[in-house]
């Protein structure tokens, strides 16, 4: 019973709290006023939640976006036009403004976005004062509070506000739980990792800012409706700072936390008037959250509830069945049905092509690299590098420190652009952003695994499937976001995907896909990354120092994983220091020294060459 209660509290805590606020607000006019203010803050918090929590961007323009929403409603209403058009117009204008700022700062670190949005807020405030014919200037605009010619009562506004919060929270929650949402979380933790599964991070960041701005505009419209009056001071810069911290106080784990955070804010501001430095304490609280409790108050609450749940569950026989949202799992292992991959491989092996290096003209090179040059500030990091990668081949790239291996990986994957040269994968020229190359079939793993710690091992592997469905166009991405917000399907994964994850897990050697990533060993992390890279059946897998930091058993696991995969029409490039290991598992080695490829061929031949030995061990 306790378990069920706790589970439902975790799942329904948010909506329950919302209903409680409605009840609180219905008591009298003061309470209604307070709760409507709470809803405005909460919806602004939700607006910030999308870009801030999902994609780690700090924007200070939210008061301005709210102002756009409020003023659009006021301007249209005061000219006897329907207020609802104002709501839509506000959302459009706010989104457009957010888009422009985001485009301008897309390649820069978070500070530039923060300052850019700050300037927007200042300019907007100035605009409101400077165009009194349009905006009423310092005295603002008054208008009649009606929608579709029906006057709005305070109670109606209260209920409408609550409904709005519910709607937005549910939409954002759906997004969060969807694959795209998880991809966005990954993006927040590591942009290269997200790019490697095909997410165009630059565009998604922009889209998330636009989404947030539209929601903020809705909040501003609510405020305008509740007052019947908009003033420049209603949307001042201080508001932008106050609301910035709402999702943080409320917690990163769930958008419903914004309601909690807004409640804290309103409570602090109410108490503060008799207490004094409420806003100061608020600032301290925020610093504490950033430094000490990153998961925020509602996050802590959830952890607390989980702990209670664990404790309550420990003796129960059903405990094995209880697991994180998502997969059902019965204990015990079962032989899994063969997948399509297996069938194809069997066929190929039967044709007798199981030696990885068949005659060159029968197995086409999936990756052709020609004349790559890269110079940094006077240093030629890569000089005229050329090589081919054959299908089912494992090519090792080795060389002493500073040889240019990392640069080569960056150039291949698209993190940096080569000064000159060409890379062709499967007949297609590889250029542009890393995500584009990922979509073309280039997968990779990282030296330090870049995974989502909040998910399980299996869920991390499943993220790789995004590569197969991420759209490339702006329109496609926008539609994907909208669809994700509207679908409740994120909670249960489709059966087919479940199977794919299990298969890959088995092949790669992951014993327990249900394990939380945060508890997994380093070796498991590396395997999970490999799984993520392979689940979408890429053409080339690029591994960056896969053996670094691993013990012997784990190295064996990785080697087995790679060996099992080489048969499946995949080319593998491994970059590592460990010559012994590399000479054992690689079919060919490419040796770099000071940016030049000094040798390429089977390991035993290459390592016998005198200039290779000189590069590694110094003069004779």
């Amino acid at each position: 019973m306790l378990i069920i209660f706790l589970k439902s509290l975790r799942r329904l805590g948010g909506p329950f709290f919302l209903v409680a606020t409605v009840a609180y607000g219905l008591q009298d006019a003061v309470h209604t006023e307070l709760v409507i203010l709470l809803y405005v803050y909460a919806s602004l918090g939700l607006a910030i939640y999308v870009p801030m929590i999902l994609t780690d961007q700090v924007s200070l323009a939210y008061a301005a976006y709210a102002g756009i929403g409020g003023y659009s409603v006021a301007i249209l209403s005061s000219r006897s036009l329907e207020a609802l058009w104002g709501v839509l117009l506000g959302m459009f204008l706010a989104g457009l403004t957010a888009c422009l700022v985001a485009l301008a700062t897309r390649k820069l670190s978070g500070y530039f976005l923060a300052v850019g949005t700050l300037l927007v807020a200042v300019a907007f405030g100035r605009f409101l004062l400077q165009q009194p014919d349009l905006t009423g200037g310092a005295d603002g605009l008054t208008f009649r509070r009606e929608i579709l010619n029906i006057p709005l009562s305070r109670t109606a506004l209260l209920v409408a506000g609550a409904a709005m919060i519910w709607g937005i929270a549910v939409l954002v929650q759906n997004l969060e739980r969807s694959d795209v949402g998880r991809g966005l979380f990954l993006m927040g933790g590591s942009r290269p990792a997200a790019e490697s599964i095909g997410l165009n991070t630059a565009r998604f960041r922009i889209l998330s800012l636009v989404l947030g701005a539209s929601i903020a505009s809705l909040a501003g419209s609510l405020l305008a409706f509740s007052r019947g009056l908009v003033l420049p001071d209603s949307f001042h810069l201080e508001l932008a700072f106050l609301i910035l911290f709402i999702p943080l106080l409320g917690g990163k784990q769930t958008p419903w936390g914004c309601l909690v955070g807004a409640a804290v804010l309103v409570y602090v501001l109410e108490i503060a008037r008799s207490f004094g430095p409420g806003k100061l304490l608020y600032g301290l609280g925020v610093l504490a959250c950033v430094l000490v409790i990153p998961e925020g108050i509602s996050g802590r609450l959830r952890i607390f509830l989980s702990a209670i749940e664990q404790w309550a569950c420990r003796g129960s026989p059903e405990s094995v069945l209880v697991s994180s949202e998502g997969a059902n799992l019965s204990s015990g292992r079962k032989a899994l049905p063969e997948g399509d991959f297996e069938r194809g491989v069997e066929q190929r092996i039967e044709k007798g092509r199981h030696h990885p290096l068949g005659p060159a003209n029968e197995i086409a090179a999936p990756l052709i690299v020609r004349n790559i040059n890269k110079t940094y500030g006077g240093v030629r990091a890569l000089q005229d590098i050329s090589f081919d990668l054959l299908k089912t081949e494992i090519l090792g790239i080795v060389g002493p420190n500073g040889a240019g291996k990392t640069t080569l990986i960056d150039v291949l994957t698209g993190i940096q652009n080569a000064d000159s040269g060409r890379i062709v994968l499967g007949g297609q020229v590889l250029e542009g952003a890393a995500s584009k190359r990922a979509l073309a079939g280039l997968a990779r793993t990282f030296q330090h695994p870049q995974l989502s710690m909040e998910l399980t091992v299996g869920e991390n592997v499943g993220l790789g499937l995004l590569r197969l469905r991420t759209p490339r166009s702006w329109a496609g991405m926008t539609l994907l976001l909208i669809r994700s917000m509207l679908s409740f399907a994120g909670i249960r994964k489709p059966r087919k995907e479940e199977l794919a994850i299990k298969e890959i897990g088995q092949r790669v050697g992951l014993q327990n896909p249900e394990e939380k990533m945060i508890n997994a060993s380093f070796g498991t992390e590396k395997l999970a990354e490999i799984g993520r890279a392979l689940i979408s059946k890429p053409s080339v897998l690029l591994m960056d120092e896969p053996f670094a930091g691993l013990g012997k058993t784990e190295i064996d696991r990785v080697i087995n994983a790679v060996e099992r995969w080489r048969l499946h029409a995949l080319g593998v490039i491994i970059v590592d220091h460990n010559i012994d290991l590399m000479s054992k598992i690689c079919d060919r080695l490419l040796v770099l020294d000071s940016g030049i490829a000094i040798a390429c061929g089977p390991p035993n031949e290459v390592l016998a060459e005198p200039h290779v030995q000189k590069a590694y061990f110094g003069g004779d």
Binding site: L129, Q130, D139, G140, R227, G228, L269
Partner: protein, 376 residues
């Protein structure tokens, strides 16, 4: 009934104790303790308190004391409606809106919804105008009223003038407003000179006005006192004995500190307090008694008017019903005013919620350490 009968019998002997026993009539004041409007807003609070004390010492209203309740909105218009509603919830049947003008504009919406009469002490023009004004009464002279007095004061003395302002949007806007009004009144505006906000030197502007435009009078305006003070000090330094006209900024004690006493003597400014207005002199005396270390802000007379308007309305209605009070206030005309020349009165009507006497401010000069009406 019995209680009030008892009270009126022992009225002369036991006034304060009597009033303690009666149910108070609550008057709420919305003010700003620490925000951008707190400069003058706290004086609103102080003077409202003094007025209430005076009324209570004289027996209260209908034998009941007035209790002044206060709420601080920090000049934040997002918070003003909440505070105003709180005042109503705490039982206030009358409101004084003494915070910044943006807050007052928000708060008056609540007054209308809750049907509680409110008195606005700001000079913002829109406060007493529709929409949302049906329960709000403005007791201070509006900006337009003050402009009119200043313009006619200038017109009666010179026929050409220059304007000095700053380059901020408010400053530029004010200058444009003045220019239009002056020209409509038949005064030629020869030039407008401006300094940037934060400027530390105005010599060039003064020199041009004196030597190039050769004006015989200058109207000083701007968004903040600093630049205006700079101009006046520069004129004094350069030894130019030209009459300088200014609005009610000139009565602010902090502005006067920036100028120094010598500079004040060249000013012709709008002043609400007349030496012959007995009510005005009385409240100033009371203020000085209670707050000897605070400077007197002479624009505060309107707060006293507000409190007395409220008292009069309650007496007329013999109760505290909101709509009845509103109706009563709209019929009050001819009540003596706590500011302006001796004949100034407070007059409200159904169509005019701007209750201040249009001649409540007048042109004054600074002589012998105080403001006196300037000779025509």
């Amino acid at each position: 009934m019995k209680k009030s009968l008892f009270c009126s019998v022992v009225f002369a002997l036991l006034i304060p104790n009597c009033l303690m026993a009666a149910e108070p009539i609550r008057l709420g004041i919305l003010y700003d303790a620490s925000g951008g409007a707190s400069d003058y807003s706290r004086y609103n609070l102080m003077n409202a308190g003094l007025a209430v004390d005076e009324i209570n010492a004289a027996g209260g209203v209908l034998g009941r004391p007035i209790e002044l309740l206060k709420e601080d909105d920090g000049n934040d218009p997002n918070v003003s409606p909440l505070r105003t509603r709180t005042l109503v919830k705490r039982g206030c049947v009358g409101l004084i809106l003494g915070s910044g003008s943006a807050s007052v504009l928000q708060a008056r919406v609540v007054a209308e919804e809750e049907k509680v009469p409110a008195f606005a002490t700001t000079l913002n023009d829109k406060v007493s105008q529709p929409p949302n004004n049906s329960y709000t009464f403005q007791t201070n002279n509006s900006a337009t009223q003050q402009l009119n007095v200043l313009v006619s004061g200038i017109k009666s003395r010179v026929n050409r003038i220059a304007i000095f302002t700053d380059t901020s949007p408010t400053g530029a806007g004010l200058a444009a407003l003045y220019k239009k009004a002056l020209e409509n009144a038949g005064v030629e505006v020869v030039a407008t000179e401006a300094v940037d906000v934060g400027a530390t030197d105005a010599t060039a502007q003064v020199a041009r006005l004196r030597d190039k435009w050769k004006v015989k009078a200058v109207l000083i305006s701007g968004q903040a006192p600093q630049e205006q003070a700079l101009f006046v000090r520069t004129v004094l330094e350069m030894g130019w004995k030209v009459p300088l006209f200014q609005d009610v900024t000139a009565v602010s004690p902090s502005y006067r500190k920036l100028l120094g006493p010598k500079a004040l003597e060249q000013l012709y400014y709008l002043e609400p307090i007349h030496p012959d207005n007995a009510l005005a002199q009385k409240w100033i005396r009371k203020f000085r008694e209670k707050y000897p270390n605070e400077p007197v802000l002479t624009t505060m007379g309107n707060v006293w008017n507000a409190v007395y308007l409220f008292k009069r309305a309650v007496e007329v209605v013999k109760g505290t019903d909101g709509p009845a009070l509103k109706g009563a206030i709209e019929n009050i005309c001819g009540m003596k005013s706590h500011f302006g020349p001796p004949a100034s009165t407070v007059c409200c009507s159904k169509d005019n919620h701007l209750c201040a006497d249009p001649n409540g401010v007048f042109i004054a000069q600074f002589k012998d350490g105080r403001s006196v009406p300037a000779p025509k």
